[in-house]
């Protein structure tokens, strides 16, 4: 309920990017009484009086702590949304003890309410409190719920994990039950023949948890027939339990099937085909202090992901521990916007449970190196290594040989399946710099020179017994090259010429997007 006075004395309208207080008006109870007792004045002198009052107020706010407490918080405009959802986001307002604190809390509350994504507009008004209680304020939170709760979206996205593009269409339904719940269904088709159909719900407040909770059901199909002779289909449920800026904890339960419709798989792949139940908990810690994810010139970034599999009570579910990390550092060189980017990434996966030393790790969970994604932009474990084709590094086995009618005893090109590895390490160094032409500089087209190295080894099935440092050093493969990067609004195109320190792989020029 607003004050008896129907004119709100103060109003705070927040823009998304504002945190400064110059745009806010403010006024207080103390001034209200004085104003009522003033004699009638001409409009100009009235305005002047008000202006001088405002200046006094601003001066007071900026120079000293002005005590104020919140008497009541009123929420208006929510016909569907439950009160407690909104109240949870504006907790800090109730405990403010000064004007400055109140303004800051109001800014934050406004941003959090907008982030719920269920309101068309949010405004927080600081009104004067009841006249018998000086030094108090009533806060009025006015929300306008989404008129159209259903939104659709179609787009082309890049997915660093899948190292490819995907075409995605999604439908979102906002606030179906009034709990700030966001429902979405999406269909995505990837350029590497990955298809995914999924539906999910996100709840800002679930029981006593202070971070949003998400649940997602997805049906995924990935085709790796060309590289590893298997197709992966999985039906999964994932629960996001904790999600803040730096931490993310999720539980995933899925039924995964590996099959080989081409019937050309190599021996190790043949032995891996079948159904499996994954039940794992994944914790990710991420911190990114670089100035830009696409062309970092200073700062660092670190990601660590730990995954523990085999939590389902059934002992036959897939059991393994997986740990990976990725560290990037960008060093500015002070000229031509040049920067030196370094990165090192590593990962290991190992099974646990009975007979863990003899068991192989599950094929899709292993590490695969190679592909076309830029190591500078990809943050998330040892995955990318320029100069090698997708999954092109590491242990491999010859595929099945089928005798043709033409009496060729041996085929010339015996194809191979890439099996991935249990221990992966990559490192890169990249020097990027602007080109001398102004037109290129203005469109942010720049050049870069890079070198990267990586290794992928198998540890399971007692392979770790034959592990030796010399053999490990020999297993590293490296590549180096130079290229041109053309960033556009939609994507980042890279033209590289690179060579590998590996006699079998020829040097080549590649265009990547």
């Amino acid at each position: 309920m607003a004050n008896q006075d129907d004119k709100p004395y103060s109003e705070i309208e927040e823009e998304d990017d504002t945190e400064d207080e110059e745009e806010e008006d403010d006024d207080f109870n103390e001034d209200e009484e004085e104003e009522e007792q003033q004699p009638l004045l001409t409009p100009e002198s009235k305005m002047q009086t008000q202006r001088s009052q405002m200046e006094q107020v601003f001066h007071r706010i900026s120079s000293e702590r002005v005590p104020l407490r919140v008497h009541d918080v009123l929420i208006k405009g929510n016909t569907k949304t439950k009160d407690f959802i909104i109240e949870a986001e504006i907790e800090a307002l109730k405990t403010a003890t000064s004007v400055q604190e109140l303004l800051q809390a109001a800014t934050i509350a406004n941003a959090r309410l907008r982030k719920l994504d269920v309101f068309d507009s949010v405004s927080i008004t600081l009104d004067s409190g009841p006249p018998e209680l000086p030094g108090t304020s009533n806060v009025v939170v006015q929300v306008v719920e989404c008129k159209n709760p259903l939104t659709g979206d179609v787009g082309v996205f890049t997915k660093p994990e899948a190292r490819s593009w995907s075409l995605e269409g999604s439908l979102k339904f906002k606030n179906l039950f009034g709990y700030g719940d966001l429902w979405d269904g999406s269909l995505s088709y990837g350029w590497d023949q990955t298809t995914e159909v999924s539906a999910g719900v996100s709840l800002p407040r679930f029981m006593k948890l202070f971070t949003p909770v998400m649940a997602r059901v997805s049906l995924l199909s990935q085709d790796w027939l060309k590289f590893s002779s298997y197709k992966e289909q999985s039906l999964g449920l994932s629960l996001g339990l904790l999600s803040t800026r730096n931490h993310d904890l999720a539980y995933n339960l899925s039924w995964r099937t590996l099959s080989d419709p081409s019937q050309m798989a190599s021996k190790s792949i043949r032995r891996q085909l079948g159904h499996g139940l994954l039940s794992n908990l994944k914790y990710t810690f991420k911190i990114d202090r670089r100035d830009s994810p696409l062309r970092p010139t200073k700062g660092f970034a670190f990601v660590s992901a730990s995954q523990l599999g085999g939590l389902f009570p059934d002992y036959r579910s897939l059991r393994s521990i997986r740990q990976e990390f990725d560290l990037h550092y960008a060093l500015p060189l002070g000229f031509a916007r040049a920067a030196l980017n370094f990165g090192v990434a590593g990962g290991v996966i190992f099974p646990w449970g009975s007979d863990f030393k003899n068991r192989p790790t599950s094929l899709p969970d292993r590490f695969f190196l190679g592909g076309n994604s830029s190591p500078v932009c990809t943050l998330g474990g040892p995955t990318s290594l320029l100069g090698f084709k997708t999954r092109g590094l590491g242990p491999s086995e010859p595929k099945r040989e089928v005798k043709t009618n033409s009496e060729d005893a041996n085929s010339d090109t015996s194809e191979r399946d890439f099996l991935g590895g249990d221990l992966a390490v990559t490192a890169f160094a990249d020097l990027s710099f602007d080109l001398p032409l102004k037109v290129l500089r203005d469109s942010n087209i720049h050049a870069h020179a890079f070198a990267c190295t990586g290794s992928l080894t198998k540890l399971t099935e007692n392979s770790f017994r034959e592990f030796s440092l010399q053999k490990y050093k020999d297993s590293f493969r490296s590549s180096a090259g130079i290229g041109l990067i053309v960033p556009t609004k939609l994507f980042r195109m890279e033209v590289d010429s690179r060579g590998t320190m590996n006699p079998e792989t020829p040097n080549h020029v590649r265009v990547r997007i």
Partner: protein, 292 residues
């Protein structure tokens, strides 16, 4: 086998489903291949796939880059014959009795086995063979799906379930009980091939030891009539179902020709009557006296 492997000298591996019930592999489509290789004296390793019950590629024989899948070229044994790795049937496969007997096996007998394994006995036998090593939710779903498929294949619905049960199992049971020679013969070969194998194989079954008790116990029967396949196509299924009988017949031939056939291990044609009941397409008049 030393003389037949021209492709590569690597050791063959036979990948089958798990061992159960005292058998080196309890799956009725895998066991014939096992027995065939044993009868041919081909050295091979045995490996198990416990996670893919609905694959029609299993059983398969492989060695590094060579694979003979179950769903190619008419089956594993046919592929091995074609690739000149092993061939026990060269002398008999043109005999008319052979053709008629195999056709008989491929029709009603295979349906009865299918019924017995998946619908009769609550399907617990099939569950143990195919799904006991899969995590519970997956095993349960796949099992129910397969039972449904088998019922569709056999045309069983709620209305005719009881009638079909009588038809399939009582006839099969009755007729097999009337063939003590067949049972003896099967037991004899089991002793020679399978029990010896189970003691030397890497993964001997620890399940109940039933087969010695003879034909009255159904769990033993899948061994002597191990032609039951879960594929969708009836044609595929019937083709695979003939393997065991072929190997049995050939072994008897060999035995008789080498040792003079002192036993009357004559296997009569399993009566024309039961054939008539189902589809009557068999040639009832003939007795498959192949070995005379």
């Amino acid at each position: 086998m030393d003389e037949s492997i021209e492709t590569e000298p690597q050791r063959l591996t036979l990948v089958t489903r798990k061992p159960c019930f005292g058998l080196p592999t309890a799956c009725p489509s895998c066991l014939p291949v096992y027995i065939y290789l044993k009868l041919a004296n081909v050295p091979f390793d045995l490996s198990y796939n416990l996670t893919f019950p609905d694959s029609d590629q299993i059983p398969y024989v492989d060695s590094d880059t060579y694979v003979a899948y179950n769903n190619e070229k008419g089956g594993v044994i046919e592929s091995l014959k074609e690739d000149k790795i092993v061939n026990l049937d060269s002398e008999v496969q043109d005999l008319p009795e052979w053709v008629s007997t195999t056709a008989m096996i491929n029709s009603w007998l295979s349906d009865a086995i299918l019924y017995e394994l998946w619908v009769g006995l609550d399907g617990s036998t099939a569950h143990k063979i195919y799904y006991s090593d899969l995590p519970w939710p997956i095993g349960k779903v796949l099992y129910l799906k397969q039972v449904y498929n088998v019922k569709q294949l056999l045309g069983i619905s709620k209305d005719n379930a009881e009638r079909r049960e009588e038809e399939e199992t009582s006839v099969l049971r009755g007729k097999l009980l009337e063939q003590p020679n067949l049972a003896l013969y099967a037991d004899k070969h089991k002793a020679e091939l399978l029990d010896a194998a189970s003691s030397s194989s890497s993964d001997p079954s620890s399940s109940s030891s039933i087969p010695r008790r003879g034909p009255s116990n159904w769990s033993s029967k899948p061994k002597s009539k191990p032609k039951r396949e879960r594929t969708q196509e009836e044609k595929n299924f019937r083709r695979k179902a003939k393997y065991f009988l072929i190997t049995q017949m050939v072994a008897v031939l060999v035995f008789l020709s080498l040792l003079g056939g002192s036993d009357d291990t004559e296997v009569d044609d399993v009566d024309g009557d039961e054939v008539n009941m189902v589809d009557g397409r068999m040639d009832r008049g003939k007795e498959p006296k192949i070995w005379q």
